[in-house]
């Protein structure tokens, strides 16, 4: 039970940190043709962090 609550808070903290750091990166990036692709990659990273607990739970159910 305790683990679950802690897991939830860690997850929110992860999302928080990843979004802040990626938005800083986006500002620091030089304007180039690669910018669009980089933004796409950033979005994929954020999505991966968001679905991480689902994957975790699936793994637990599997074993």
């Amino acid at each position: 039970m305790r683990k679950l609550t802690d897991g939830l808070l860690t997850w929110v903290k992860d999302i928080f940190l990843i979004i802040i750091s990626l938005s800083f990166f986006q500002i620091l990036l030089p304007e180039s043709s690669m910018e669009k692709y980089l933004k796409f990659i950033f979005s994929i990273i954020i999505m991966a962090v968001i679905i991480q607990p689902v994957i975790c739970i699936m793994g637990h159910i599997g074993t």
Binding site: M1, V12, I19, S23, F24, I27, L28
Partner: protein
């Protein structure tokens, strides 16, 4: 012998004064002394003399001063946020003359993060208060419910007492754990996600925050509907069977025992009526404690959420729509938090009233 003496004697047999003091102390900690107006003795006195218990100027005054205090504290918060919003609007308009885009972007990000910091801080205060009030409600119920069931069994409602006791106490403890471990942390997460969302230009976690918030409210509503349904329906059935038992006992006492049977039946009835009065007093005491414990955090949460909503409305023309949306969502999250607490309190009050209305007839 007069009825006041019987009532007081039985009251002392049933209730441990330490436990009653324990409940009052905990409630007074959360409500800041508001609950001291209602003590068990005062309710007993009001019952005996047929007075109104809420006819109390002191209570209205302290509630008013509490609301005024909270509004003042929250106004400071709203003005802080508004000032930062004005700075953001200024920076946005000046950014073209500053030249470099990244400079103004970073300053905007920093300002937004200051707003987030202030908001999370005030949210955490309200959240901790909610957590405390839920714990106090649960512990009050855990003390009050066994006393009520003891009285219920002593009035002859054996089936109600034995069947309902595990149901009610189990669901009170379960509700407490689910609220404290899942629903309130989920609300916390939803609020933080709603705030993070105003950092970025694109929506990344907007839907996620709304999902968590709606899920938390829906789960609480579902929990309340199921548990209160079970308790009321089960209560009706066991109450009917107990009524049958008591009436049969009374009838056979007065009919089949010659001469003294009638007196014995009357005495038994007086005893049961007296115990029922005590049960009502204890139940009312529990309800009042729960209402008081809920009302103080509820006022705080609603005032803060109102201030957030007003700030969002005022800030919209000056700064980004993103930031005002974030502040607005934060207000909605606080209202949801208040709704969850209200649901929990309502569930406990339904439990108490179900037990009080059981038995005796």
């Amino acid at each position: 012998m007069d009825y006041e003496k019987i009532l007081e004697e039985q009251m002392n047999n049933v209730i441990d004064p330490d436990q009653a003091a324990d409940i009052t102390n905990k409630a007074s900690e959360i409500t800041g002394g508001l609950s001291d107006i209602f003590s068990l003795d005062k309710i007993v006195k009001a019952t005996l003399e047929g007075e109104s218990i809420f006819d109390n100027q002191e209570m209205i005054d302290s509630l008013k001063s509490l609301a005024v205090y909270e509004i003042r504290a929250a106004l400071v918060l709203g003005i802080e946020i508004l000032v930062i919003c004005i700075i953001i609007g200024l920076l946005k308009n000046l950014s073209s003359s500053l030249g470099k885009k990244s400079m103004s972007d970073i300053s905007l990000l920093v300002c937004t993060m200051i707003i987030i910091g202030i908001s999370i801080n005030s949210f955490r205060l309200a959240y901790n208060l909610c957590l405390d009030s839920v714990s106090t409600m649960v512990s009050t119920m855990e003390i009050i419910a066994p006393i009520l069931f003891g009285i219920l069994i002593s009035t002859g409602s054996i089936a109600s007492g034995t069947i309902m006791s595990p149901v009610v106490i189990g669901s009170v403890t379960g509700t407490g754990i689910i609220l404290k471990k899942f629903i309130l942390p989920a609300m916390f997460a939803a609020t933080i996600l709603a705030l993070i969302n105003c950092l970025t230009e694109k929506d990344y976690v907007n839907k996620l925050s709304k999902l968590l918030r709606n899920a938390a409210v829906a789960v609480t509503g579902l929990l309340m509907a199921i548990l209160s349904g079970i308790v009321s329906v089960q209560g009706l059935i066991t109450d009917a069977s107990d009524g049958l038992l008591i009436n049969t006992a009374k009838y056979s006492l007065s009919t089949f025992i010659p001469i003294v049977g009638g007196f014995t039946a009357d005495t038994a009835e007086l005893f049961i009526k007296c115990m029922n009065t005590i049960k009502s007093i204890v139940g009312v005491f529990g309800m009042i404690v729960i209402i008081l414990v809920i009302i103080v955090p509820l006022i705080k949460v609603l005032v803060i959420s109102l201030i957030y909503k007003i700030t969002a409305a005022v800030a919209e023309p000056i700064c980004d729509s993103k930031i005002s949306d974030g502040i607005n969502d934060m207000g909605s999250c606080l209202i949801s938090l208040g709704a969850i607490m209200f649901f929990a309190a309502l569930l406990f009050i339904i439990f108490i009233s179900a037990i009080v209305s059981m038995g005796g007839e």
